[in-house]
């Protein structure tokens, strides 16, 4: 019979925590051999379970935990050596304990003799008896917590022998307590035991947290209303201002904190993997090491919970399919021990979780074969697919590349489930793989599930929230614009958008709202009878109506409703335009599920509460397509060239420019990627040595140059005391560029003016904000200023007949790199993207390729992969020159097949690398 039933739930919660820590501890022993602290921790956790179970009279749990405790005690005393068998047994026993705790009411009926016997077997025969004796004692301990003070005296004597464990516990953590009498310890014991095992936190029910969250949101709304209402009287009531500000601030903070309470570290998911990996590696006969990184990264509780299954699946896959057998690994020159890394980190407002293995990698060709074999895709489709697209095939239902099906994985179910599960959380899955080196699955997850960025739009005075994920762009159409206008196919409206027809539907029509317009005279809303935007009603009306006033009306109306706002939405390959009346701007909204009464409306995916406290429906673009019965033809055909061109325009790397002025009137620009920092100095800081100027910078002297002295530009007097020095990045012998004032930094696509001046020191000129900006070529400028250090070794030219293919989409960099390479005497061919580069490679004899990575149409990674795949180019050296300076990207680049990975844009290094690659090649030949 279970006693004290009312507290049993607390026991279950607490015991679960202990059991988890036991498991974690046991696995730690696994890796680190024997660490006494760890064993002590486990011992204490098991002991706590036993203690509380005794309080509830759960004899079976007590018995098992007691047996475990005995064995652990032996381990702790050093009477027994830790070995795998013992750990296994303890883990299994712990599992059994867990099962019992989870179904605590049935725990009394569990058969645990097997475990108890096995556990006892490890303890020397003479100790077993001893253990039996201490079992009796332990029941006293458990009883003890229930005894009242009055009984204490009688209990005291009996408990003395068992107190040894207790005293030990106390000694370890509270050395001062040694002086306490046993009597006092007796009282404190249960409390202390908890204090050791339980962390600095308390358990709170999730519903309570959710309620708190709701209340906090309400509080925010309440505050908003309060502030709005009191606004008028703020000045009239003395002292109210600071109070309001205080409430304002505290409310915001409160809401933030409450939101935080739902955040949990990913450790909660990660922690179950050591065990899974351990079991799996035994089962499959593989040797696996698991590495966890970023376990502190926090995610919303609901996401953490939903992550478990997909991640387990990916990890199992990684061990089963990814990692090779130890022998195989050794043959390939890899360490026997396979490695799985789980890594969580923040990136761009998302949390990424990488599941990395250093196994065999995914064979793209095999994936293609399988896809064709299973008829998931046609040949023509396949040929048009890039590597990423092919890998995404893995997520198609019914796809498995495993040669044989094991009971661990490979049945072709699962990967699609992973994808959908992650998709449900608003995340995506990416795959990176290289054959022989391993695979990385990357899960990109939003921080919280419930909050999504959305656009608030309005039709017929009703507001709706549109999730921004599907939103591609917003098009405004003004009347009288001949290029952008709505055209008609019968009654359907279409818009020419980049050479293609975009179907347009009005949100009000989809939702079957009566379209109205506001009468310009009365201001009342009247029913809209025009079916289309530019229905020529005005003309008809003139015929039918009499009286001047009404004749003017239509014109007025036209001017009122003229601008049409169209949201271009894209779902997969389907694209359509949704016309709305008003766009209110973006808002982060809290998604609440639809009640079952409105579920059948296809157009909504949820409901939210907006800043003003009103509910608003969240639109579902997919549903809208359904509702509006839009039929899309399969859009597998290639995009027309014109769209491609525009896309490439749009994708062109934006450059960050620092605009500044020297003493003359000209505006100069320098690419920010070349600027290390800008220092403010005063005229007095400049010291002169000969005719050269220097400043002290970071304990060193830095030579300053004035661009106007080397360039054909105007000069003025530098009178003002404040000056700036631009310190460039990635140069060998730094020189500071002395400038007069900083104008701006701006992001721009640079198009060079056609009739560019050819001046050494300048890359060219461009027009930004209606000003001519001269772009400085830092290297050439330095060459002019400091020929000794910067003169390029002209002897190298030596008439080498070497052709370099330069692939770069940004004209600025293209020009610069070209000039660098040309100055060293190489012949240069240029291409704007990977596709173009491949074409040039086909037609010309090229010795070396220098390529950017971020490019439209085909990027550098894809380009180098294609080059490597082609036997003719197998030994063609390829250097990446890019502004992607991340280590991961660098690794990805090198993995893809680049010989070198260089950052933009260091002239001497670039030339050095080119020379190095070429000489290597010469030797090889």
């Amino acid at each position: 019979m279970i006693e004290n039933q009312e507290f049993i739930q607390d026991f279950v919660e607490e015991a679960k925590g202990h059991i988890e820590s036991v498991e974690a501890g046991l696995l730690k022993i696994d890796e680190l051999s024997v660490d006494l602290d760890v064993i002590n921790d486990i011992f204490r956790a098991v002991h706590s379970v036993k203690g509380t179970a005794g309080f509830f009279n759960l004899a079976v749990i007590v018995e098992l935990s007691h047996s475990m405790e005995n064995l652990l005690g032996e381990l702790r005393n050093g009477n027994l050596k830790v070995n795998q068998e013992i750990i296994d047994l303890l883990l299994k026993s712990n599992d059994c304990l867990k099962a019992m705790v989870e179904d605590v009411l049935e725990s009394e009926n569990m058969d645990i003799t097997e475990y108890v016997e096995k556990l006892a077997m490890f303890i020397k025969p003479d100790k077993v008896e001893d253990a039996g004796e201490s079992e009796k004692k332990s029941t006293y301990i458990s009883n003890k917590s229930t005894k009242t003070n009055a009984q204490k005296d009688s209990v005291k004597e009996k408990t003395i022998p068992t107190e040894t464990t207790v005293v030990e516990v106390a000694q370890e953590d509270h050395a001062k307590d040694q002086s306490l009498t046993i009597d006092q310890q007796d009282k404190e014991m249960p409390v202390k035991n908890q204090g050791i095992a339980v962390e600095d936190s308390i358990r709170v029910h999730v519903t309570l947290l959710n309620n708190l969250l709701n209340l906090a949101s309400e509080m925010v709304l309440g505050r908003n209303q309060l502030l709005r209402t009191v606004e008028k009287y703020r000045k009239d009531i003395p002292g109210v201002e600071p109070i309001l500000q205080n409430i304002d601030r505290i409310t915001t903070e409160l809401q933030e904190k409450v939101m935080q309470t739902r955040m949990q570290p990913v450790a909660n998911v990660f922690n179950k993997f050591p065990r899974i990996i351990r079991d799996l590696s035994k089962k499959l006969g593989k040797e696996v090491e698991l590495q966890l990184e970023g376990v502190d990264v926090e995610l919303d509780k609901s996401i953490i919970e939903a992550l478990g299954d997909p991640m387990t699946h990916l990890v199992r896959n990684a061990v089963d399919h990814g990692l090779e057998m130890p022998k195989e690994r050794e043959n390939q020159g890899k360490p026997r021990l396979g490695r799985i890394i789980l890594k969580a980190y923040h990136e761009g407002g998302y949390v990424n979780i990488d599941i990395i293995d250093d196994g065999a990698g995914i064979d793209i060709e095999k994936v293609k074969e399988k896809a064709l074999e299973k008829e998931l895709i046609s040949k023509s489709e396949l040929s048009a697919m890039g590597e990423q697209d092919v890998l995404q095939l893995l997520f198609r239902p019914g796809f498995s590349t495993a040669d044989k099906i094991t009971d661990v994985s490979g049945r072709g179910v699962g990967m699609d489930v992973v994808k959908t599960n992650i998709g449900k959380l608003g995340g995506t899955v990416e795959i990176f793989t290289s054959v022989g080196k391993g695979t990385t699955f990357r899960l990109l997850l939003p921080l919280t599930l419930a909050i999504i960025p959305s656009l608030i739009v309005e039709v017929e005075s009703q507001k709706f929230a549109l999730p921004q994920v599907n939103l591609q762009e917003i098009v405004r159409i003004k009347p009288g614009d001949n290029i952008k206008k709505i055209e008609y196919i019968h009654n359907s409206q279409v818009l020419r958008l980049r050479g293609r027809l975009l179907p347009i539907i009005h949100l009000a029509d989809v939702l079957e709202l009566n379209r109205t317009f506001s009468d310009p005279v009365t201001g009342k809303r009247k029913e809209e009878r025009r079916k289309t935007f530019y229905d020529q009603r005005s003309k008809k009306k003139k015929i039918h109506t009499e009286g001047g006033a009404s004749e003017i009306l239509p014109c007025k109306r036209k001017s009122e409703t003229n601008t049409i706002r169209i949201l271009v939405l894209k779902i997969g390959s389907r694209k359509f335009g949704l016309a709305v009346d008003v766009i209110h701007g973006g808002e982060e909204i809290l998604v609440k599920p639809l009640s079952k009464f409105v579920k059948e409306c296809k157009c909504y995916s949820g409901v939210t509460i907006m800043g003003d406290g009103k509910a608003a429906m969240i639109l579902d673009p997919e549903g809208i397509i359904d509702k509006a019965a839009l039929k899309f033809v399969d859009e597998q055909d290639d995009k027309p060239e014109s769209e491609m061109m525009e896309a490439s325009e749009a994708m062109k790397e934006q450059q960050n420019l620092l605009l500044f002025k020297c003493s003359g009137p000209e505006t100069f620009g320098i690419d920010l990627s070349m600027v290390s920092r800008v220092e403010e100095i005063s005229l007095n800081d400049i010291e002169k040595i000969g005719d050269k100027e220097y400043i002290k910078f970071r304990g060193d002297s830095l030579r300053l140059i004035r661009p106007e002295e080397y360039l054909p530009v105007g000069k003025g007097d530098s009178q003002s005391g404040k000056l700036y020095v631009i310190i460039p990045k990635l140069v060998k012998h730094p020189l500071g560029i002395l400038i007069q004032e900083i104008n701006d930094t701006m992001e721009a696509c640079i198009r060079f003016n056609k009739d560019d001046m050819v001046v050494k020191g300048l890359t060219g000129s461009t027009i930004l904000n209606n000003r001519i900006v001269l772009l400085i070529n830092v290297y050439e400028l330095f060459e002019l200023a400091d020929p000794a250090h910067y003169m390029v070794d002209c002897t190298k030219k030596a008439g080498e007949n070497i052709t370099i293919l330069l692939v770069e989409d940004t004209p600025f960099f293209l020009k610069q790199e070209k000039s660098y390479l040309e100055s060293a005497g190489y012949n240069i061919l240029t291409a704007q993207n990977g596709k173009e580069a491949l074409r040039i490679l086909e037609e010309n004899c090229v010795d070396l390729v220098v390529s950017d990575i971020n490019m439209p149409v085909m990027d550098g990674l894809e380009l180098v992969k294609r080059i490597r795949q082609d036997k003719r180019f197998a030994s063609l050296p390829v250097i990446a020159v890019t502004s992607l300076t991340g280590e991961l990207q660098m690794k990805a680049g090198l993995d893809a097949g680049f010989d070198f990975y260089e950052f933009k844009l260091d002239k001497s290094r670039l030339l050095e690398k080119v020379e190095c690659v070429l000489s290597k090649r010469r030797k090889a030949i």
Binding site: S595, F597, V607, A615
Partner: protein
């Protein structure tokens, strides 16, 4: 039907509901209509962070009452744990809370129409009028 009953007026008729089913009465609610939903759904409103679906009981019970006065008083029902959706319905105005004992309550008379049969659970004979007790379980089941 016995016990306390909350009465309210709707379409000039007097209706009642078991008061233990009622969570609260709200006045001046600002609800958001849901275009494209069923006609008997008036809209959704935000009750302290929870979304309540508001029903039009008149339409639901098939009254063709066109001169709807623009009311925004509503009764919100308690939600059960296994059905967490909050529901409420618009009424014209609230009446009193009355105690109903066994003798006063009577099942529906034989000539009550189909609709009534579905939505009404019993009739209470008050002193000078009849009180129709609605059965929310049936009303909001679909």
């Amino acid at each position: 039907m016995t016990g306390k009953v909350l009465t309210f007026y709707l379409c000039r008729g007097l209706f009642g509901i078991d008061i233990t089913l009622v969570k609260e009465i709200n006045r001046n609610v600002e609800y958001t209509p849901v275009p494209d939903a069923k006609p008997h759904i008036v809209g959704l409103f935000n009750m302290r962070g929870q979304i309540v679906t508001l029903f039009n009981l008149r339409k639901l019970m098939g009254y063709k009452d066109d001169n709807i006065c623009e009311t925004s008083t509503c009764i919100i029902l308690k939600s059960s744990p296994n059905d967490p959706d909050q529901v409420g319905f618009l009424i014209d105005r609230t009446g009193d809370v009355v105690d109903v004992n066994k003798e006063e309550s009577e099942p529906l008379p034989a000539n009550a129409g189909n609709i009534d049969e579905e939505y009404l659970s019993s009739i209470v004979k008050l002193k000078d009028e009849l009180l129709m007790i609605i059965d929310p379980k049936n009303i909001f089941k679909s």
